[in-house]
Symmetry: C2
Subunit: 311 residues, 2 copies
Amino acid sequence: MDISKKTIDWEIEKVLTGKPKKLYDAANHISSAGGKRLRPILCLLACESLNGKTNNALKSAISLELMHTFSLIHDDIMDHDELRRNVKTVHVLYGEPTAILAGDLLFSKAFELCDPKATKILAHASVDLCEGQELDMEFEERTFVSEREYVEMIKKKTASLFEASTAMGAVLAGGSEKQVRAFSEYGQNLGMAFQIYDDLLDLLADEKKLGKPVFSDIAEGKKTLIVVRAMESLRGMERDRLAKLLHKTKKSKKETDEIFKLLKESGAIEYAKQKSRGYINNAKKSLEKIPDSKAKDELLRIADFVVEREF
Amino acid sequence: MDISKKTIDWEIEKVLTGKPKKLYDAANHISSAGGKRLRPILCLLACESLNGKTNNALKSAISLELMHTFSLIHDDIMDHDELRRNVKTVHVLYGEPTAILAGDLLFSKAFELCDPKATKILAHASVDLCEGQELDMEFEERTFVSEREYVEMIKKKTASLFEASTAMGAVLAGGSEKQVRAFSEYGQNLGMAFQIYDDLLDLLADEKKLGKPVFSDIAEGKKTLIVVRAMESLRGMERDRLAKLLHKTKKSKKETDEIFKLLKESGAIEYAKQKSRGYINNAKKSLEKIPDSKAKDELLRIADFVVEREF
């Protein structure tokens, strides 16, 4: 890619410097703690693949990262999460009111930066983000969620912003309708795989690399694909036992271990791995008709990375 | 105006119908409880004054109301307010997580609706909203805030969205740079007057008409113009007494009465009335070079209404 991650980091920091200082510090906190900048990179690579000028797409690419960070800050408040990227979350450090505002500021800055040609794409994704997060929260209250419902939820909550990222890059490069569609499909499939693999990481990752506690989805009663699938495939006493354990608000180490064992024995972990790889294959297939280039190669490599990463 | 308030109400309700139902109901709650729709009306009147097609500006006009409602919902969470427009606030009815999301959804919908030609105006105003609200909260922690600081705060927190409303109308009508500037100035001055008059209403209004408890600014330690001015003009023991009373987290009826007496005797209430009228005169003056029309007349009437209204 002809724009480095360092440039992206630097641009984000520049946008998030301002007054009142407390508000801007809060807004910058999560970004400055790291992050893969996956969404801006995807946008710029999509743009580059179609021979677009990435310099003209940089600000819009940054807007995607701001939108992502906004959703992390607000989600952390809603989910009462205390750690992210190995640092305390914004509401823990700055208090809830300023954390809400920091999210709102990131949101506003995103639309201030985004190219007017692409604001509809960004706005559409952010509507999806909200609807998806609401579904995610509502699912916590339910014992049974179908795989179809789960798929609809993560399409909105996660895949939509990935889709927006690559679609935006293609649009800003002046791509044809067909090309924009190809990049949209790539982004959406990549996002689906990303979320399912995230569900897996919650169970399987190294805590330090993940930057937050493992099993937090289980602790919060999140309906991950693994939980959804296990509840669909287990029968009789095992299913009842899993439902009962998942329903508990406070789970002991022993109970969490038992949940993990039940999930594993149900075959749901294996199933989720296969599903995420399936989406990755679809993502790659979407780009078949896009002419080969170094940028396209990187997009294909990112697809593999998404289901092999450790964080 | 050639578009009725009813049409505006109806358009808002249409936008705020969707799934998940709980989220959309929460987002629609404050709008459906009433509201003057002042910002959309200002936008449409500015557009009409310059012979623009108001039908083409309607969606952008609605986006201003959504942005306003978003800020009300989030501010109510931050300020722990329980009543607005005579109904319970969103976080009281739907819980904080869904209230945060409802605000985010309104924000997203605003940018989905807004004409790409005007998104920068909207985004700029929303950055200001956030910065202004942060300043407002920070001022609560301080004993002394200067009038200059107060003016900077309300310019961002309140006047900016008024300014955006009329500027947007002028831009969408294809107005010249000079014309857009005239409408921006009108909107900004109107917004300043609006906020100062709001500060006054908190002390002087009829609770039922106001739709929320009077003296809530005082209870929350808000630095209204009246408080700021009284602290600047009182001397010696009276000033110390006022500072001490304002600083208390729980204030009795007797203490609130004493605060009111001190504010009144300091001349700050009269001062704030004059200030708001001064801004209104400036607002009207800004439109002097705009050709006369029915729409312009309405804008001049609204200016007077803003400092005579009861809610």
